[in-house]
Each structure stands twice: as structure tokens, then as C-alpha cells.
């Protein structure tokens, strides 16, 4: 077996073990602590105790959303950083998250989310997709040729969508404004179980598809011209991956709100420790993203119990500090 394949298996296994441990800790800790040995007996007995309800109705769905959102946002970061060959790119800098936020706010303003549960992620993806289409349309029609200029346009679109988002907030009724603001702060809480499962499936499928394209991402990171001369269908691969990144971001933003920094910090962190080979980076980023967000959520709900902080604040604080530390250390 190829040495790198062995390295990838070992890395993924270790990270999966860490993820499992973090999940167990996240299940046991909270406003009401449940010891780990008691945890298994509660889950095995499946009785209608308060602990069982807390575990199954509140903590487990949160963990599942955490895995899906952390993994998907990290993947979107990995994809965009490879395509744009810029380490500072993530769904937020490109305006994809802004577009998704705009879509979701429109959905909330028209109260569509109360009629159809799936309308929230649908509008999120439409918003994210519109941004990707606008950026790509400019490139396809030859208005913008340079990928770096495309990036700048993405940043501008991000500002525009943020302004439109603020406009919608300022024009909406007070209860809608409250609903949008609450959603904006970012939370892993999702009462609709179907949405949780949908998100998890989309996120895991995203991981599978990105893994299939991992070698192409390696080639693409050499730049458009070199990738072309190595036999890669640059345009086709780039289109598929950009659509995938917008679906992942749109879905995540619509369910968990704006959780910043994950798409930027996690791929960086993974590259610092495991190198730049996307065959390892893709899976490692997915699992590390999941670990990171579950830990941040754990902090958010335990640091000042019974109050709960929005998870987006914790990801920004913790992620930023860890990132600076890792950069200085390396």
C-alpha cells in the first residue's frame, strides 16, 4: 500500500477517535452534567427520563449539526483556497455566505420558513448560488479574466450583499428583525429533525465528492495554466467544485446562521500539521472542522451557564487565538 495512503488512513483514524471523544464529552457536559458511565446506560435503556430527553432531543442533534456545519464550512474553505490559490479565501470573503444570509433573510421576511421547513436552506442555497453565478458570469462573459480580480469582485459582492442584508433588517417588522438577528448570531440548535438529517447527508456527500476531486485540487493548486498542461479539465472541475462550495455554504448558513472563521482557520491549521496534499487535507479538514465547532459550541453553552453564547462569537475568538498561536509557533 502507498505510504501516503497509510498516512492518510492513520491521520483520519486518529482524528475520528478525537471526534468521538469530543462528541462523548459534548453529550455529557452542559447545563446539566451527565457522567460518561451513566451516559451509556441512559442511551441503552431508552427510557423517557429527563436525561434521555436532553441527550436525544437537544444535545445529539446539536452535535450532528456541529459535525455537518463544521465539516462543510471547512470543506468550502479548502475548495475555495485551492481554486483561488489564496490562503485568505473562505465562503465569507467571497460573499457566498453574504448571499446565503440575504436569501435566508428574504425567506424570513416573507415568513416562508413557517410554511415549508426546507425553504430556509433552499433560499440560503439560492442566495449562495446567485453570488457564485454573478462571479462566474463575469468570468464567462470575459468581463473578468484574472482569477485574482474575480476574488476582488467576490469581496465587493460580499459588501453589497451585507448592505442589502442590513437594508432588509432595517425594513422588516420588529418580530422578523428579532428572528433574523437571532439567526445571524449563529447557533447549532435546530428543532426540525428532518433538516438536521438533510444537512448531515448533504455535508457527508460534500465530503465524499470533494475527496473524489482531491487529486484534481492538488493539480489545480499549481495554477490554471499548469493544471491545463497536466491534462486537467480546469473549467469543468472548477465549476463542479464552486457549485459544491456554494451548496455547502448555503445549506450551513441557512441552518446554523453566520459562523465565521471555520472555513479559514481549519484548512490552515490542518495544512500546518499534515502538509498540503488535498488527499489528506480534505478528510482531515472535515473532521477537524467538526471537532472545532463541537468544542466551540460546548464552550458557548457551558462557559456562563445557564446562559448560552452564540457559537459564532466563540469560533471567532477561539479560532483567531489558536490560529495566531499556530502561525507564531510554526
Amino acid at each position: 500500500m502507498n505510504q501516503k495512503a497509510i498516512k492518510c488512513c492513520i491521520t483520519s483514524s486518529i482524528l475520528l477517535i478525537i471526534l468521538a471523544c469530543v462528541c462523548v464529552v459534548a453529550l455529557s457536559m452542559g447545563a446539566m452534567n451527565i457522567s460518561i458511565d451513566k451516559l451509556i446506560s441512559i442511551l441503552m435503556n431508552q427510557n423517557e427520563s429527563t436525561e434521555y430527553t436532553i441527550l436525544m432531543q437537544i444535545r445529539l442533534p446539536r452535535i450532528l449539526v456541529g459535525i455537518a456545519v463544521g465539516g462543510a464550512l471547512s470543506l468550502a474553505g479548502v475548495i475555495l483556497q485551492a481554486i483561488f490559490r489564496n490562503p485568505l479565501v473562505e465562503p465569507y470573503t467571497l460573499g457566498i455566505s453574504g448571499g446565503a444570509a440575504l436569501g435566508v433573510s428574504i425567506c424570513i421576511v416573507f415568513s416562508l420558513n413557517q410554511t415549508y421547513a426546507l425553504s430556509l436552506p433552499f433560499f440560503g442555497m439560492i442566495g449562495a448560488g446567485c453570488v457564485i453565478l454573478a462571479i462566474y458570469g463575469l468570468k464567462s462573459f470575459g468581463v473578468v479574466q484574472n482569477v485574482q480580480r474575480l476574488l476582488l469582485i467576490g469581496v465587493m459582492i460580499s459588501f453589497i450583499s451585507n448592505s442589502l442584508f442590513m437594508l432588509i433588517i432595517s425594513l422588516s417588522k420588529s418580530e422578523q428583525m428579532h428572528s433574523i438577528m437571532f439567526w445571524t448570531m449563529g447557533s447549532l440548535e435546530e428543532p426540525n429533525r428532518m433538516l438536521v438529517y438533510c444537512l448531515l447527508i448533504v455535508s457527508l456527500l460534500g465530503c465524499l465528492i470533494t475527496s473524489i476531486f482531491s487529486v484534481d485540487l492538488n493539480v489545480l493548486s499549481l495554477g490554471e495554466a499548469d493544471a491545463f498542461h497536466l491534462g486537467l479539465h480546469v473549467e469543468r472541475v472548477r465549476n463542479i467544485l464552486l457549485i459544491l462550495a456554494s451548496i455547502l455554504t448555503g445549506f450551513c448558513v441557512s441552518i446554523s446562521g453566520i459562523i465565521g472563521f471555520v472555513g479559514l482557520v481549519v484548512p490552515h491549521f490542518v495544512r500546518l500539521f499534515f502538509g498540503s496534499d488535498h488527499r489528506i487535507v480534505v478528510t482531515a479538514s472535515y473532521i477537524t472542522g467538526a471537532i472545532f465547532i463541537i468544542l466551540c459550541d460546548l464552550l458557548a453553552r457551558t462557559i456562563i451557564t445557564p446562559l448560552e453564547l452564540p457559537v459564532g462569537i466563540v469560533t471567532g475568538l477561539v479560532g483567531g487565538l489558536i490560529f495566531i498561536y499556530a502561525l507564531v509557533k510554526k
Binding site: N2, K4, A5, R85, S214, V215, N218, V219, S221, L222, G223, A225, D226, F228, H229, L230, G231, L232, H233, R271, G275, S276, D277, R279
Partner: protein, 283 residues
């Protein structure tokens, strides 16, 4: 021109336009198997664009490019990458990538649909490419820890891992000291002789082009000004017309190939005054 079957590349009446301005116009030439063709010309004369046109990277307005007597359009992109490799001018490298991983990317054209990991054969070929370019010691180094010359060598090694028949290089000796320039061109010369590889190389240094290339193409404003053997291309008249600069034609004492001496106008005036003075009788 010799027999068509010996031509690895045949370019005829190639034109390329970008925003209403012709970058390449009516370009025709052949490259024979196992020969080295040097592209020379001033900055902006279309040398790099020509290399990119040959690989099909830029869309042409007119003209035909035949690789081994088949149009390059008829080739699948992956198959073409097995035949033609290109080393572009100082492309940015991912600093955290390792040398070995970078060179193994050269095996991408040979990757099967669901193949994620390199085969033993791929690793062996990459090792051979490193051996040929003498960079085995750099194997586990990160790309950000390499010097300019080493980076150029790993770019060449990656292209060699493609096992190409035709090797295109865009100013591979740029920003390198004379030892590295010589090392790279000697390596290319060896590849040409040992593997019968055909080479098309863009060079700025006319003397290096004269020394290492079998045929030269002198370009000006997207057109071929003249082409042929170095002794026919590197003449005083041609160089003055294309580069608008003064040169003196000479000969390399060892290889007996044409050698161009650059002359600045100031030095020329100084030298003429001195010779006039020496001709004047002593009072």
C-alpha cells in the same frame, strides 16, 4: 524542410488575437524529432504566447497545429499532456508542498479515473526525473526552502515525469546565475541526445540560444522575422532590425558557433575617439 514524418510538430499559418490586437500572426514552422528550436525576440514579441498556442491553452483564430501529423484538437487533453510538457516562466509554487509531491503531480496525465494514489511505477519515474535533474537530495524539502535555481530544476523534473516527446520551456534560465544557466541547458542537451526528445525553448540570451539550439526562430511583433541556423539568424542586420541595438558578430572560440557582443553607444563613441587619437601622428 525535411520529410514530414520526421516532424514532431508542424505549425502552419497560426494567428491569435487578443482584444483586436494580433499577438501572433501567420506563424509557420516545423520541429523535427530530436531537435532543439530556440525562440528569441524582444519582450512582448509573442514568444510565450506562441508556446501556449502550441499546447492549445489559448484559442486560435486561424491556423493548424499538427503533433506527429495529427491535429492537436484531435487529442484528448490528458493524452496530449503525455506527449507535450511545458515549463512556464516562474509560476508561483505552493510553498508548503514537498518536492517529491510536486514532481509526482507530473504523473497526473497517466492517472486513471478512480486512482487516488500513485503507483509504484509513478514513484519510480518521479525518482528517475529527480536523478536526471540531480535533485534527489531535495526530495523531502518544502518548496519555500528552495533557491531560484533549485525551483527551476524541480519544474523541469515535474515536466520530465510526464515523459513527454516534446518539451516546451519558457525562459528556463531567467534570474539564474551562469552556473545554473549552464546546468539547465546542458541537462536539456543531454535529454535531447539520450532520449531523442524534441525541445522548443524561449531564451533571452542570444549566445546561449546560439550555443544550445539547432534552429532559431527570431520573432518581432507577433510575427516570425526570420528562422534558421544560428549563423543565419544571429546576424548584425537581423539583430539591429529587431532589437534596435548595436552588436558585433563574433564566434565562440570553442564551439565555433556565432557569438554576439553587445555594444553600448557610449562605449562605441569612446572607442572610436581613442582609435582616432592613436591614428594621429605624435607631435
Amino acid at each position: 524542410m525535411k520529410n514530414n514524418e520526421q516532424n514532431v510538430l508542424s505549425v502552419s499559418q497560426l494567428s491569435y488575437r487578443q482584444s483586436s490586437q494580433f499577438q501572433l500572426q501567420d506563424i509557420s514552422f516545423d520541429i523535427q524529432k530530436g531537435s532543439c528550436v530556440g525562440i528569441i525576440g524582444p519582450n512582448g514579441s509573442g514568444k510565450t504566447t506562441l508556446l501556449k498556442a502550441v499546447t492549445g491553452f489559448i484559442p486560435l483564430i486561424s491556423g493548424q497545429i499538427l503533433y506527429c501529423n495529427h491535429s492537436i484538437q484531435s487529442y484528448n487533453q490528458q493524452d496530449l499532456a503525455k506527449e507535450i510538457a511545458i515549463v512556464l516562466q516562474s509560476t508561483e509554487l505552493d510553498p508548503s508542498m514537498h518536492v517529491e509531491d510536486y514532481i509526482l503531480l507530473g504523473r497526473n496525465p497517466y492517472r486513471k479515473r478512480w486512482q487516488f494514489w500513485e503507483s509504484e511505477q509513478d514513484i519510480q519515474i518521479a525518482e528517475t526525473a529527480m536523478k536526471i535533474t540531480q535533485i534527489e537530495s531535495l526530495r523531502y524539502r518544502q518548496l519555500n526552502a528552495l533557491s531560484g535555481g533549485e525551483k527551476q530544476l524541480i519544474r523541469i523534473a515535474r515536466a520530465l515525469a510526464q515523459e513527454p516527446e516534446l518539451f516546451l520551456l519558457d525562459e528556463p534560465t531567467n534570474h539564474l546565475d551562469i552556473a545554473h544557466q549552464l546546468q539547465i541547458l546542458t541537462l536539456l542537451n543531454r535529454l535531447k541526445h539520450q532520449k531523442n526528445m524534441s525541445i522548443m525553448i524561449v531564451l533571452h540570451d542570444l549566445n546561449l540560444a546560439s550555443e544550445f539550439c539547432d534552429q532559431l526562430i527570431l520573432m518581432q511583433n507577433g510575427k516570425i522575422f526570420t528562422m534558421g541556423a544560428a549563423k543565419d539568424v544571429l546576424t548584425y542586420q537581423n539583430i539591429e532590425s529587431v532589437y534596435h541595438t548595436l552588436v558585433i558578430e563574433g564566434e565562440n572560440p570553442i564551439s565555433k558557433k556565432p557569438y554576439v557582443f553587445l555594444v553600448s553607444e557610449d562605449n562605441l563613441k569612446k572607442s572610436m575617439t581613442q582609435s582616432k587619437r592613436s591614428e594621429m601622428p605624435d607631435k
